[in-house]
Symmetry: C2
Subunit: 201 residues, 2 copies
Amino acid sequence: MVYQTKTGEMIMKKQKKEDRRVKYTKMVLKESLIDLLSQKDISAITIKEICEEADVNRTTFYAHYADQYDLLRQIEDELLQNLKAYITVFKQKKADAIFVDILEEMFEYIKANAKLCKLLLSKEGNLDFQKRIMMLVYDTNLVAKPNETLKKGEEEYVYSFVITGCVGVIHKWLEEGMKHSSRIMAGMIINSVKNLPVTFE
Amino acid sequence: MVYQTKTGEMIMKKQKKEDRRVKYTKMVLKESLIDLLSQKDISAITIKEICEEADVNRTTFYAHYADQYDLLRQIEDELLQNLKAYITVFKQKKADAIFVDILEEMFEYIKANAKLCKLLLSKEGNLDFQKRIMMLVYDTNLVAKPNETLKKGEEEYVYSFVITGCVGVIHKWLEEGMKHSSRIMAGMIINSVKNLPVTFE
DNA sequence: TCCAATAAACAACATTGTGTTGACAAATCA
DNA sequence: TGATTTGTCAACACAATGTTGTTTATTGGA
């Protein structure tokens, strides 16, 4: 058996091993769904449609995804993973970055992927995606050090408040065509939360 | 023609005129969908299923709703309208109610409808519903008087921040089985927002 | 480079859900 | 009661679904 090595290696191999055809297929299917999503709700999109637009056989679709929702989920995954990687790289490159810098960078990334982000956060969007953004923020330790004045158990609620609040602001920013700069938006959030019983970074 | 009167009267009549049979049909269909929603995602629920569970002919379903999503939307509508009415009545009954009282009452209402609220805010839930809750909060003037220290345009973002933040807190509260009392939750939100550049009531 | 193993893509299939139609029965309300 | 509305049912054509076995492309080792 080739794969009887360390888990890490296995995963590495699996990633590299993706067939050119598979790569292409997945790419066009993703593009097709994103395109259709800008026209109508995911529930109104059929697999037949996605495949016709992508010029891929329907059977091929089923070989990779269970349904439209599964495909969307993987699109979301990709975006979130890329964002995470982007922030990680930024943190390494600029070790002295403070919270506002990282937030600004986050807004920049969202801006660069505005079309997709807007779709995923649109009114037809899924609450699960919002939750996963929250988990990401949580994981990357953007929000930290709950104030000691808080009772135990309360801090979790303040976290929820802040993170969902941030998502709401991002959403509004996208909807209004990103009129303000990333720096201004980052500053606005800092300003909103600076008096909350949590501190950052 | 009977209905050639003032628009107001027409609507009144239309509302009152709902047939008992129609009422029953709509009721069982709503119950059926809510029941199915606790088992699986709305996208996996077929109209056939809903009708079988409700023991209603599929044709009858189509007489009232376009699809599952339309039915769900109307369930949401009903919940939001009832909440709005509930708060309005409370405000009239207790004219000296301050913000924390109204918030508490809101949590009480959500608690009384916990099963449905939880479903609608679950990870499969729709962002549109969240947005409509926000509109409701906005309409009932729960959040008011933006601080004059804010630049124009910024206040809107703080609104978004606060309201989505609140929804996040409600969500977490429901998910964790409503361990804290409504009063405590209301206090927690007040505590979170009291230092924000907005005031309440 | 070539060959064999592997996996992807495809066309055709039966199945299922959809949404609509028209005829009929039951319930409503004035 | 009698006119009207609404629900029911059977049947319909249609479209989307998910699975079958077969063909074709890619990869990695000799």
